[in-house]
Symmetry: C2
Subunit: 315 residues, 2 copies
């Protein structure tokens, strides 16, 4: 029985599809391979923004509107830290701190990130597997016209303002997939691999930059279906379209398809996108995911596209 | 001009007198040498309970009733940490976390505790000097009839229930006074040294166990005046009287005076205490410090007693 689905995902937009997937099929059959290129240390705390967004989303604790962080969050820590001279450009909520403090403690005690994340998921009774792409450090650096910036410096502190010249994933060449990742890409009961509509350049590429993950995708035994992050020809949220223009690319799903190239077999495209020829199998549907129903519907569309698509490349 | 006063202090009760002292004389003329024997690492965070109580008290942020922590505190971190399986016996408030997170970060960066504490005090515009007794680790251990316990295990987790057999200050023999401590005990403009009505056995003894601090007190050039922690022959709060009984001591100010021995020249005793002969100079006054006025009055009483007392021991 082919009942398992694995999704490669970043934070915000990706977590929405991951949640939809956990409603489209039983959550226990879902594995999420999550970008850790955004991970960084801030005020001495080890922060994994995309893992946290998945943990909050799949445990029903995510903020319903802002796309990151928890619902019902308070900010007394940040206010006190500011009064003590600490940098306050990265929003650390009071309850959110629990993940960072405990993760930092457990990393220092020698536990790998994958095991720590699994522990958090277990405590919050998350049935899906949330897997960091790697337990080894990979750091996304954004080369801008001015300077090479750490991801959070670019994304949060400078609000994606500086024009992007190139993006590097420091440490990726030596990074090994975290335990469970290769199994989630190869397991016998796998039905499909999805690529979430996260930013391809900032959030999915770091995952694909882990050599053994890229290799596993190239040697896939089930279709890989990406959901385009463009809705009506633009990014829903975040800098995807802006970065595409800065990199000299046409902002279109055809560009997204070409970007993933041999790694995908099909693409889910938003119904509002301008019609254009695509070199991969595709389906057009409303990909804007406002409600849980939207998210579940898009997950179903991606799975159905996978079911009727053949693998393009087999090596 | 002899206008400076140095106070040796633990947390709760001691911080009340330290605050009174900062109103009895200009705060900029006050130095507090603070017990760090209670310091411990919890959830990976470096916590200094007595330093924190001083920081909160002298910056007007202390909880008005409970004696530790901040006013207007919230507990969302602790609730989230509990949901992730963390131990929750030590109360870590949301805003309170700022001190612990930033202290931990700065200690890891190699800054000494004294410098970190001075930075916090500067940000909160505290005019008094708050000095940890030592930048070296000293850990108060409580030997009970059952086991040898870390201070916080005894004090918070087991709520001082196990009978005390002995108290040890691990690391004290090798501990050097923090920068500023010896100067605060020897400076030319010093008027008096006060010992706050903290628990003598748990909160003041760790300070006196730092060899160079004890030596500096024995070689004092100004009177040392202790304020008895007993009010009406009992402890106001905390386990002072209980510990005295468990150690086979009479619960009386005479016992407190004998305990400090050659290190003090005079003792402030509560007016309600049963009359008893004392071997040191003393004054009887209401030492219960409920209001800021009470605290200021007790500080004045201690200073006036110092002014009319000669140094007993000079070596």
């Amino acid at each position: 029985m082919k009942d398992r689905v694995t999704i490669l995902t970043g934070g915000v937009g990706g977590a929405k599809l991951a949640l939809g997937l956990c409603h489209a099929i039983p959550a226990a059959q879902v594995s999420a391979i999550v970008n850790t290129g955004d991970d960084f240390v801030h005020l001495g705390l080890a922060i994994s923004p995309d893992l946290d967004t998945l943990l909050y989303s799949l445990s029903g604790q995510a903020h319903p509107v802002q796309g990151w962080g928890r619902s019902f969050e308070t900010w007394h820590f940040l206010e006190a830290a500011r009064s003590l001279g600490a940098e306050d450009w990265f929003a650390l909520g009071d309850a959110d701190l629990a993940l960072h403090v405990l993760r930092t403690q457990q990393l220092r005690a020698g536990l790998p990130l994958s095991q720590i994340t699994a522990g958090f998921a277990r405590h919050w009774q998350i049935a899906a597997r949330i897997l960091p792409m790697s337990d080894d450090p990979v750091a996304t650096h954004v080369l801008t016209t001015d300077a090479e910036l750490d991801f959070q410096q670019y994304f949060v502190k400078q609000r994606c303002a500086p024009p992007v010249v190139a993006i590097r994933f420091q440490g990726s060449a030596a990074a090994r997939p975290a335990p469970g990742v290769l199994a989630a890409l190869h397991e016998e009961r796998l039905r499909a691999i999805l690529i979430a509509p996260s930013n391809p350049y900032l959030s999915i590429d770091p995952i694909l930059a882990v050599p053994a993950i890229r290799q596993a995708l190239l040697q896939r035994t089930v279709p890989v279906v990406a959901v385009s992050p463009l809705v009506g020809g633009a990014a829903v949220k975040g800098p995807t379209a802006k970065i595409m223009r800065e990199l000299g690319l046409t902002v279109s799903s055809a560009t997204i398809a070409r970007h993933y190239g041999d790694l995908i077999d099909a693409l889910v495209v938003d119904a509002r996108d301008p019609p254009e020829p695509l070199e991969v199998a595709h389906t057009r549907t409303d990909t804007l995911m406002k409600t849980l129903q939207d998210r579940t519907r898009v997950a179903h569309a991606a799975l159905e596209l996978a079911d009727r698509t053949a693998i393009r490349v087999r090596r």
